[in-house]
Symmetry: C2
Subunit: 743 residues, 2 copies
């Protein structure tokens, strides 16, 4: 009996266990089983995937991308440009490593070109009309690249055509103060000014000159500013080093606004309304032409007058004279004029963006955007193809993961290969104008990597302070090329750093206050958190204002691979860092944007503003208290939000709670926008990061208005200071209100 009972109990237990197992695992609960999407919506970024991405980013692939992209010159809208369009499409539509979808978007935009049949000329002409000297029309060839027929003659895009002829004067950098000073020593009417690159924007050198009666401007790159003083191409400059050969000329866009000039605030489609060309603002009013320092030396060394001030002297082995127009009486150019014959003309042509997307799995209606322009002035190995090569390697790795079914981002990723950036950020700007609302409502962030590698010393990055944390996190996971076990973050901190009240000694993230690349429309016009990064110089080793072959016919694959980044390891480090940031923005459950870091920057701006303006404003009965209160509100709101994120178990709460927080983080920069605050600055709407002329690192509208009021003393200008104080205070209060508990 005992045995039978024992058997019964054992069998019974076994059957019960089987039953329990069947009941638990074998039968789906009808009412409360978790829907399949519950796990998906709470998934966070996968650190293993990040590691896989980092390991797959390949330097040789980047090198080969660059080789392909730089085969021919690809200035915007030329056949070479079309070749790169096709190349991008092919890569992004590749069935094994491509994106979900890729396509082209065209805009018909206002460009400016020299006449291939009538090249621009710069000559020295004596009183009898004999030409004593003619500046080089094209750069000196060292390799086949420079001899490519598609190399465009150096020119100043948007310079008007014309044939000014007059006595030459040296005008330093063509700043307003330079012409003012020069004007005190000599009557400038009817003269031609020769200026160095630097100090002010390209177009400003002509815009500033015109009121003094100057009729034409030359611009060149001084060896002091670019070559650490080196001059000779027999052994010093490219092809012997990265330095600029004497005949190298920086091309560029000579205009002060970004985007297509004929269709302000509208996408430049075929039938879009275009303003009359005569209504365009911010173009050079007089002809201007860039030349090489070889020719500049010939002109400057013969100039009459007294020695110009010390800070006007450059790198030539001669005294830079000023004060008398024209050449020395002892010169072979004595009594001669300098003549500019400029045949540029404007053309309205179709320029293409190439777009590619990876569709997000959980939040397809949230976009992380990554972009760079595709067009160059000549072969553009560094500018912009280093960035494009990096972008192509990132898309190859991610595309393969998608095509293999191994990964799909939480949010959608949009890649943009912008057209006509060199003519003034045109492709990216038209894109933001066409998709204004869609991007305003959905874009989480924009990552810009234009020139990926200026030099191979260190990372440099600029962006919203809210992005600091994710940039640091990514940089810590990437090893610094050539630095042993040091990572990109630690290496960066060695070169650029600051002491944060919160974080102590950290790398210095720059501010995106200008319009130097395609991030401009994203941050300034749309208020989308943006960043820009590259590898760059060791400033203790060079004073070059930019890499010396910039915008010249020497910016080639040969140059890049020999002198900028042999082995392409800095490219690789940038691809890894930028891709890591991209992945974190796309995949993190909670967006990796930190508003307390934003508060720190606002507090820094506030301190500067109070130090500089509070006393004089009190005298005008204008109170800075609203601004102080606003910054304090923002600080408080951002810390509450941080605390909410820290204290919540967001992976196990409704996905709408995460979305609410993410929307707060995403939209904080939108709150800083004011479409009416900067009426004279095209496309600038961001009240914190708009460009400023005042040269003070604080709220730009306030700084500019204060500078104006202080200089004019007009009560209407002091009113304008008060206006900007209200604008920025209310913008910051609005942002704080976005971050505060929602109702």
């Amino acid at each position: 009996m005992f045995k039978q009972v024992l058997i019964g109990v054992v069998c019974g237990s076994a059957i019960l266990t089987i039953g329990i197992l069947i009941g638990h695992f074998g039968i789906t609960k009808s009412g409360d089983s978790a829907p399949s999407w519950v796990e998906d919506v709470s998934k966070d970024v996968d650190e293993n995937l990040i590691q896989e991405f980092l390991s797959q980013v390949d330097n040789v692939n980047i090198q080969e991308n660059l080789r392909e992209l730089t085969k021919v010159p690809h200035m915007a809208t030329t056949p070479g440009d079309e070749q790169t369009v096709q190349f991008m499409l092919k890569r992004w539509q590749d069935p094994e490593t491509g994106l979900d979808r890729a396509w082209r978007e065209e805009y018909k935009v206002y460009l400016s070109f020299p006449d291939p049949n009538k090249p621009n000329k710069v000559t020295v002409v004596d009183p009898s009309g004999s030409v004593l000297h003619t500046a080089r029309e094209k750069e000196k060839p060292y390799y086949a690249e420079q001899e490519d027929a598609a190399v465009v003659q150096p020119f100043a895009a948007y310079s008007p055509p014309g044939n000014p002829k007059g006595k030459l004067v040296y005008a330093n950098q063509g700043k307003l103060s330079d012409y003012e000073r020069l004007n005190q020593t000599v009557d400038l009417r009817g003269t031609i000014a020769i200026t160095r690159y630097g100090g002010v924007g390209r177009a400003d050198k002509a815009i500033n000159a015109e009121p003094y009666g100057i009729i034409g401007v030359l611009v060149y790159t001084d060896p002091l500013d670019i070559n650490d003083g080196l001059l000779s191409d027999t052994n010093e400059t490219y092809p012997h080093s990265w330095y600029l050969p004497p005949s190298g000329v920086e091309r560029g866009s000579f205009k002060t606004q970004f985007g297509d000039m004929l269709t302000p605030y509208l996408a430049a489609k075929e039938e879009t309304y275009r303003i009359p060309e005569t209504d365009i603002k911010g173009l050079p009013p007089i002809p201007i032409q860039p030349i090489g320092f070889e020719d500049a030396y010939i002109l400057i060394s013969e100039l009459d007058g007294a020695a110009a001030p010390n800070d006007w002297q450059g790198g030539f082995n001669c005294t830079y004279n000023y004060g008398a127009p024209g050449f020395k009486p002892t010169s072979r150019f004595k009594d001669s004029n300098v003549s500019l014959d400029i045949f540029n003309s404007a053309k309205t042509l179709n320029s293409s963006n190439v777009m590619g997307v990876i569709r997000g799995s959980v939040e397809p209606d949230r976009y992380v955007i990554y972009g760079n322009h595709r067009d160059s002035w000549v072969h553009g190995a560094i500018d912009p193809s280093s960035g494009t090569s990096v972008m192509l390697e990132i898309t190859r790795v991610l595309g393969r993961l998608v095509k293999q079914g191994k990964w799909r981002p939480r949010r959608s990723i949009i890649f943009g290969s912008w057209g006509a950036e060199e003519f003034g950020l045109i492709g990216s700007t038209e894109y933001t104008e066409e998709y204004f609302t869609k991007l305003s409502e959905r874009a989480v962030a924009y990552i810009n990597v234009d020139i990926a590698v200026f030099a191979n010393a260190t990372l440099r990055a600029s962006g919203m302070p809210s992005m600091q944390n994710v940039i640091f996190k990514a940089a810590k996971q990437v090893s610094a090329p050539g630095q042993g076990s040091t990572n990109v973050y630690e290496n960066w901190k060695r070169y650029f750093n600051r002491t944060s009240p919160t974080h102590g000694l950290i790398p210095r993230l720059g501010y995106l206050t200008g319009a130097g690349s395609d991030y401009a429309a994203f941050i300034h016009y749309l208020g989308i958190a943006s960043m820009d990064m590259s590898y760059t110089y060791d400033r203790s080793k060079t004073n070059a204002r930019i890499y010396p072959a910039y915008h010249t016919a020497y910016d080639t694959f040969d140059y890049a691979s020999k002198f900028i980044d042999p082995g392409f390891v800095s490219h690789q480090a940038v691809a890894r860092t930028a891709g890591n940031i991209l992945l974190r923005l796309a995949d993190s459950l909670v967006l990796p944007l930190n508003c307390s870091d934003y508060a720190e920057s606002l507090e820094k701006y506030l301190k500067t503003a109070v130090d500089l303006y509070q006393e004089p404003l009190q005298a005008k009965k204008i109170s800075m208290e609203p601004l102080k209160r606003a910054v304090a509100s923002f600080r408080k709101a951002s810390e509450s939000l941080d605390e909410l994120i820290r204290s919540s178990d967001l992976a196990n709460e409704t996905p709408l709670k995460v979305r609410k927080i993410n929307d707060q983080l995403m939209l904080v920069d939108r709150a800083f926008l004011n479409p009416l605050a900067f009426k004279d600055k095209y496309g600038f709407r961001h009240t914190i990061w708009a460009s400023s002329n005042a040269g003070t690192s604080t709220f730009p509208g306030l700084a500019d208005a204060f500078a104006d009021a202080e200089s004019s003393g007009l009560s209407s200008d002091w009113d304008h200071v008060h206006y900007h104080l209200s604008v920025v205070s209310q913008a910051i209060e609005g942002a704080a209100s976005m971050l505060t508990d929602v109702i």
Copy 2:
């Protein structure tokens, strides 16, 4: 053995079953049990709750709300206004029927008042200086209400002070064309014009007059326009009927822009920058004063000249003469002048909004906003207290459900009791300026119920076409007062209807193109889907341009309860309909906004535009194809979205998919905004619904630009037509792009 086996099998089966049951129900699955929030996030609107709401809305409560709200005059910023602030706060903070939270928000705004110690005067003065007639200073009292010391003297808010004196002329409605015509018959310099209300905005009567040298303006309500011709207070007008007594005077705001005039596009906080008063635009340049038709008759009946045109004649038993300034030679006023002594002055005072919220359970960061102003000119029983009484009844019913724990909306509901609307929609506008980004990003819709009941015949509603469906649905569930079993929808269709290509015969939903009430800043400035509704007249029974006691001292509880809505059943119908719409917007899983109905309106606008403009534009080489393509894109996108909603099982999909669709629906009106398109129209940014002067029911920027170009013939004006065509085409394409699949 068999028995043993049988027992074994039975026991085994029983144990197995028990095991299965334990396993299935007794043990929580670790990995895949549904989190508690899964059910909440997919909940749709509860029809039982709607029925409960409808049954609880009580007409007597509304009546008592009105009685309380109209105890004293409550013009903005007066002690009576403060009394209503306290009343709203008390009701919304009631522990049993109040909201989650209620508070006050103050703005310091620019207002205009007469001087209580020096009343404005209108007199007839003979050449010797004797006063032959003085217009009434205050309306004739019939009850105690009219004798309340807080009844403000009739005045034209924002009229400048001044003492113009001159010959009187009759100028019809003070339209531009009226003055033009009058100017052909008489030299208007130095005259005083008397005008009827109607035809143009109040301020325009003075703005249009000034260029002709007119120095002062009177305005009155003609019995023809308001009283169906009735005149006598012995038996015809109030207190015998709803008609305006002879001494009744419509007060009003005489300015053309909305919002605080000193702080354009900024919230009017204590320390906000204020523009100089001299920079204010859109105010009367010369003194203007409203009078009763009793006094107007005395003046007009004595006027010299010939009979004015037929359409200038009004309801008086006399000929309205024009053509000679001043009075008839046979009149006792012969050779006399009319003198205006206006002592209005501007004051910058604190005005309050009272805000209340019910926090949303699932999507607290989505707002459905319901509002009405609180301030009146005098007791304001109909304008605005009928609307406020309705709002208070809605908040009582919803507040109680919340406090009882029976209900909490999916989305947050914000109630706004706006201040200083009568002075130009000031409280609501400042609110939108202060919370610009927050509201732009989160507001689903705005419901405005200002005057809830003009008369008791039928519902009338205006709003975004996307809201048509939810308004219809709600109106069908409410029975029409006094119409047996007919519902509000069917009754409405009898009075106002149209034939829709999609829906056949339906009630006609109006467009919100003006700035007549507090919806203006929500739709025009912020692009938030908005609607406005009320019960109104049977137009076959009266021609009154508005309910006759409008803005007079007769708009009292007595008037409203006797002559506008005895029994308050129309108020009840409005409360039920508006509350039903509110509940559906707040609780529906998928927002009840329909973009195909929007497409229908765009197609109607397009047809009108093509009919009127295509030929003349072709002659100017301006193509309308981009506009046609844009409307077609919008139609296609809206139908795809409809189809997606129809074909998806959204209750069982990730809540982020519903959110994505809801964001598309919510944000479509934002895409129509352009902050630069209407530079001369303050606060108007919506390219579809902005106000228009052209009088054509089509895209407003296009219509106005076309009218200007046609009249001037200037090529720059034709350019402007092309500009507006591009603006509206790209706005519609942008909206279509928002509705299209997101990536």
